[in-house]
């Protein structure tokens, strides 16, 4: 009885956000899927009737390369971000008082500057006359004809830069709740520092890691501004193609087709992660606050 009223209350309270998601998120997504199967008209809209033309054209030869690049750049960004963010999260969680505040602030500080400005700043830095190129030249690490800009490398670099805080924060949040006495226990049982880190700390912050992966991988897949500014034609990602189809080609169904593809590409890893988490939750029914 009580449980059912609680359930009803829950539904009632989440109704506004559910409606919001339904009207502004789910419906448009379905529309995008639908428009994929519409023929384009010459005014940038779509004509009546249904066609498979767009779906077929997605198989055109220049797409697989871009799709592949989008996926591998996103995966690489995620991997690099996680590898860098995990030690950082560990250190912040282990530091005490004032230091923890300062380190956290340093992670968040970049958000105070406009995203666009920060990306343009990278363009300046990586420019042939920029500080980084000049420094590398001086050290004879690169020659004058190597370009630091307008390739997949520059896109990867700037994406990692941009998404790193999104990986650090959830990992830190999980690490802050982690009981570091477990690391001591592992060492007590014979594990050296790295073993106790891998076998106890990493499983302990599992949820934080998964959140970090999703927080980096999904936006990375949809990146548009970063490859647009520092990528050039050889660093293009699927986001750029979608924009091109809308703004340049005025082909809404085609843009929808690419978007729909991206959505499916995001849904697959998310579903996988959710299934994995469900399984983990079944294994550990509750997280105990304190023994």
């Amino acid at each position: 009885m009580k449980a059912s009223t609680g359930k009803a209350n829950e539904w009632f309270l989440s109704l506004p956000s559910l409606m919001w998601l339904l009207i502004l998120f789910l419906l448009p997504t379905l529309l995008i899927f639908a428009i994929t199967f519409k023929p384009p008209d010459q005014f940038g809209g779509f004509a009546p009737g249904w066609t498979l033309h767009t779906v077929e054209s997605l198989a055109q030869p220049n797409y697989p390369a871009i799709i592949w690049r989008t996926i591998y750049l996103s995966i690489l960004t995620t991997v690099v971000c996680i590898l860098m963010a995990t030690p950082v999260g560990y250190v912040i969680a282990r530091s005490r008082g004032k230091w923890r505040q300062i380190l956290l602030l340093l992670v968040i500080v970049p958000f105070w500057t406009s995203f666009l400005v920060r990306i343009f700043a990278w363009k300046v830095l990586l420019h042939p006359d920029g500080a980084i190129k000049q420094a590398l030249l001086a050290c004879h690490i690169v020659s004058t004809d190597t370009s630091l800009l307008y390739n997949s490398g520059s896109v990867l670099l700037v994406m990692v830069y941009n998404f790193l805080p999104f990986a650090i924060l959830p990992i830190y949040a999980a690490a802050a709740k982690f009981d570091f006495r477990l690391v001591e226990a592992a060492q007590d049982l014979g594990a050296h520092k790295f073993q106790s880190f891998m076998r106890v700390f990493i499983p302990g912050i599992w949820r934080g890691l998964i959140t970090a992966v999703l927080m980096v991988f999904i936006p990375a897949l949809g990146s548009y501004v970063i490859p647009d500014i520092v990528g050039g034609p050889s660093g293009e990602m699927i986001g750029n193609k979608i924009a091109q189809r809308v703004f340049v080609d005025r082909n809404l169904p085609h843009a929808s087709g690419l978007s729909a593809f991206l959505t499916v590409a995001v849904l697959i890893p998310m579903t996988l992660v959710m299934v994995m988490q469900k399984r983990k939750q079944k294994a550990e029914p509750l997280i105990e606050e304190d023994a």
Partner: protein, 384 residues
């Protein structure tokens, strides 16, 4: 196992101050003291989690002061048990051997043996969140013992359990100690645990060891006022030797209390200052003046408070300027004698042998015993 002049500071706090201590092989040894006395730091130094600022630690004659924790033949049972939440009971116990990369078959056999020892075979597949506090404790014991340590360190392992479970785990720990026969170093603030388990106890205060001895030794012959007050309750007297009655006994003149006869085990002489500790249960309380010889101290007293404690009754009585604690097993339901109540005039007595002279006395230690505030007696007076 031995500590040699070990010291450790945390900032301005001296956690361990020049401790030297030798623990015998196979012994059940307890470090007993109030929180913040340095006992856990000493244990962590032995485990390898803290480096001493000075001094050395030896295990089996080998200097282990600078050996990292994972290389020491020492395992710990943590206060919070620190079981790995992502591993099952079986995997938790197997952890130490998996790290050693032992053959799978061997690990399975050892884990099976440990599960049998702690009687947890039916719970082997469960995660730590799914088992009770007592069971977690047992898993922690098995996880440490499977490494066959030279010394098992126990950091207040029973603190998180309720009274009944604590009593049961005490017996279990004792049995496990008998079975495995290795050295146990047990850290606790609970004198009852230390008393009932230990072969020997080291009582610690402010980073230093006050006294080392067998439980009865510590309780019956405390060296300092701290030991006397921390282990059980006691009454302190401060007096001057007024008369040497014989080679063995002397009479103390006490300011604000009748003269007291006591056994002279410290070879005190005429005029020496003496601090005496008399345990509350050594003092008798009665309505009639007790029959006595010259070795009995007898004094009239006024009952200020009676605290019924089930197995016994505690009295707070006042004689001249002194307020004394007396513990008596009550016979109120067996004899037709009327029980002693508040505001009665009674007689107290104890034998000269039951007082014990302290080597060192500190007034602050009186606070350890939870003396009643002085107004309690006055309130009782007003009510009558």
């Amino acid at each position: 196992m031995e500590f040699e002049n070990v010291s450790k500071r945390f900032g301005s706090i001296r956690a361990v101050a020049d401790v030297s201590l030798a623990i015998n092989k196979g012994e059940f040894f307890s470090l007993l003291g109030p929180s913040g006395c340095g006992k856990t730091t000493l244990l962590r130094i032995l485990a390898g989690f803290e480096r001493p600022d000075s001094g050395r630690v030896y295990l089996n004659g080998q200097d282990i002061t600078h050996i990292p924790p994972n290389k020491r033949k020492v395992n710990t049972i943590f206060q919070s048990y620190a079981l790995f939440p992502h591993l099952t009971v079986r995997e938790n116990i197997a952890f130490g051997l998996k790290i050693e990369k032992r053959p799978r078959k061997e690990i399975d056999d050892e884990v099976g043996r440990m599960l049998a020892l702690i009687q947890m075979e039916d719970h082997a597949h469960k995660y730590p969140d799914m088992i009770s506090g007592g069971q977690k404790q047992r898993v922690a014991v098995a996880r440490a013992l499977i490494k066959r340590p030279e010394v098992l360190l126990l950091d207040e392992p029973l603190a998180a359990l309720d009274l009944k479970l604590r009593q049961r785990m005490l017996i279990e720990l004792d049995l496990i100690h008998d079975e495995v026969g290795i050295t146990f170093l047990y850290v606790t603030h609970d004198q009852g645990e230390a008393m009932s388990l230990s072969d020997r106890i080291a009582v610690m205060d402010h980073g230093a060891i006050e006294q080392v001895g067998m439980p009865a030794e510590i309780y019956e012959t405390p060296r300092t006022s701290f030991v006397a007050a921390f282990i059980g309750d006691t009454n302190f007297f401060e007096g001057q030797v007024a008369e040497m009655i014989s080679n063995e006994y002397l009479r103390l003149a006490i300011d604000g209390f009748p003269d007291v006869i006591c056994f002279n085990d410290k070879e005190r002489r005429q005029g020496d200052l003496v601090y005496l500790s008399v345990r509350p249960e050594k003092i008798r309380i009665s309505r009639e003046k007790p029959l006595s010889n010259q070795y009995h101290n007898v004094a009239p007293a006024f009952v200020e408070d009676v605290i019924y404690q089930g197995a016994m009754t505690k009295f707070w009585v006042k004689t001249e300027d002194y307020r004394l604690a007396i513990i008596q097993q009550h016979s109120r339901f067996l004899l037709d004698e009327k029980p002693i109540r508040w505001n009665e005039n009674v007689w107290i007595s104890w034998h000269a042998d039951d007082g014990f002279m302290l080597e060192r006395y500190r007034e602050a230690d009186e606070d350890l015993m939870g003396l009643p505030p002085t107004h309690v007696g006055e309130t009782a007076n007003n009510e009558s």
